[in-house]
Symmetry: C2
Subunit: 145 residues, 2 copies
Amino acid sequence: MKLGRMNHIGVATPDLDASIAFYRDVMGATDVTEPFILESQQVRVCFVNTPGEEGTVGTQVELLEPTSQDSPVGKWLENKPYGGQHHICYEVPNIHKAKEEFEAMGKRVLGEPRIGAHGTPIFFVHPKDMNGILTEIMETPKEGH
Amino acid sequence: MKLGRMNHIGVATPDLDASIAFYRDVMGATDVTEPFILESQQVRVCFVNTPGEEGTVGTQVELLEPTSQDSPVGKWLENKPYGGQHHICYEVPNIHKAKEEFEAMGKRVLGEPRIGAHGTPIFFVHPKDMNGILTEIMETPKEGH
């Protein structure tokens, strides 16, 4: 495993539209993607694009609103009703190789790779095995971000 | 306010050396800065450098181990003994102007600007005013990162 780009940080919110307004009006974001529903994670989701160094793309903020109270993000919000930092996502060149490597290190990979919000395969690794952080691993999109 | 670069995400840990080993051995980090003590925040701190796009510097992981149980990070760990995501830090060109802007929006700035771990002035803004996230604002270093 070689540390990849920090693609995004996942932020859970009880109100996606209010969070978009916060990033636009308070933080001064000018590039927020159109929200859509990601059925596999039972969330309504969009991305706040942040600037990287020298005009490159920076780490995104992924805003996640649960579509059901019984979903993983819905349950997470029960303990943090204001919302907050939910996970961190790093890119890897090959999702299946990454899964093998994490499992060989005894890390609990949560389910099989599935298509994530960027349209490439992803999986999550248990926070207790990952220095306290729910960690998403995603395959780098082939045609950039 | 214009959204700046996501300089780092702050991660609290009960054991800095174990966290460094985690980022090196599990995540494959190859560039971790030497730990030092930041008295003003009562933490022992270091940075995991992550790759950005096109060879640029990416968002760092700032690892924070409290030097005292009574410190803010020490108290934070009482509820999260494994550690986890503590704050997010964005860059601004001018710290005093940023403070005025946040205060004009009714956001609770926590104390006066002070020198942070990158050697430039920083302040924190209350998570309940910031979409659930303890937010650090730091002045961009003049000579790069």
